[in-house]
Symmetry: C2
Subunit: 214 residues, 2 copies
Amino acid sequence: MRIPKHLAVIPDGNRRWAEDNGMTRDRGYHSGLNPGVEVFKLCQKHGIEELTFYGFTADNTKRPTIQRLAFTKACIDAVELLTKEDAELLVIGNTDSKMFPEELKPFTNTRKKFGKGGTKVNFLVNYDWKWDINNLNNEEKKAINPIELLKSKDISRVDLIIRWGGRRRLSGFLPLQAVYSDFFIVDDYWPDFSPDHFISALDWYNVQDITLGG
Amino acid sequence: MRIPKHLAVIPDGNRRWAEDNGMTRDRGYHSGLNPGVEVFKLCQKHGIEELTFYGFTADNTKRPTIQRLAFTKACIDAVELLTKEDAELLVIGNTDSKMFPEELKPFTNTRKKFGKGGTKVNFLVNYDWKWDINNLNNEEKKAINPIELLKSKDISRVDLIIRWGGRRRLSGFLPLQAVYSDFFIVDDYWPDFSPDHFISALDWYNVQDITLGG
């Protein structure tokens, strides 16, 4: 079976899940923590080498403050949970902004190994594709691979993106690493994660004809 | 009904269609010409202001020569057909390469109006996302909107992408203009185009919650 080397997760639908379950919209993010750990463990089990979570973006910070505080806390908690695993963590995002949580700054400069390491995990926090791309402006040298000049250069090309919550869009997710990614949509909301979603995505990926644009 | 301002078409599946119809794989592209004109006319009818066709990429030119010649000819023929319509045409792609057809060079520097003009049509020919992005390296000024520094800067942000041929990937399509695009997949091959595909895509787009990353 062909396994993606690098899987990305867009964990959407937290606010709609909260509403459907009789809560205010800010209350869904917390229920996305266990799914994140489950996905991590499934990646370990299936030999996926790199996993990227789309935490939150600069665009998302325009949401009501109560939501922003909730999703920011959820990202901090998620990274904390991953530090208890055998993982190599890197957080990427615009740290010059007040929207970037102090607690996660220690994870941003270099990838840090926890436990026995192994699976690389990237967490996008206060990510902004315009901020990421603008680094190309600052470099005097061209690169054969433009990804090398991005702020997100330590995140490699993505093979498979799984998006929960039913939307069929990238929402600004790593435009250059996603150029050839296969895209699998789960209509269920992220807090309603089930391992079946993950397995279906891998089964589907296995039968795609991967041509890298050729 | 909410209509996309800018629609992009990825007309894939020509080679599989040819095989399914008992022809060699290079023979499908020619049957993609009428669908292109039909899509153009549907855009006029529905008030879509800008339409982008994904012709071929630098990656595609690695295919067997007989296929490359066939899809190149199909793009030349398609642009020629569109010059008979009320359209404002622009061809974008790497003209420094031998892979770029001479016949289309007159369409590349500025948008040209045909008939009464109206619908803007962009045709990507020998397009290469790395070539497009590398222009950011050459500019000394930053731009608030990085799209302004691309080689493809005259192509605006895309609202809706319809991809025929069943693949769920962008295949290097305009990474920065596609950051927030909604993505509708038609499993049928492009030469099996039907107006129903187009209408289904518009109906689906109409019920999407457009947040531009918010």
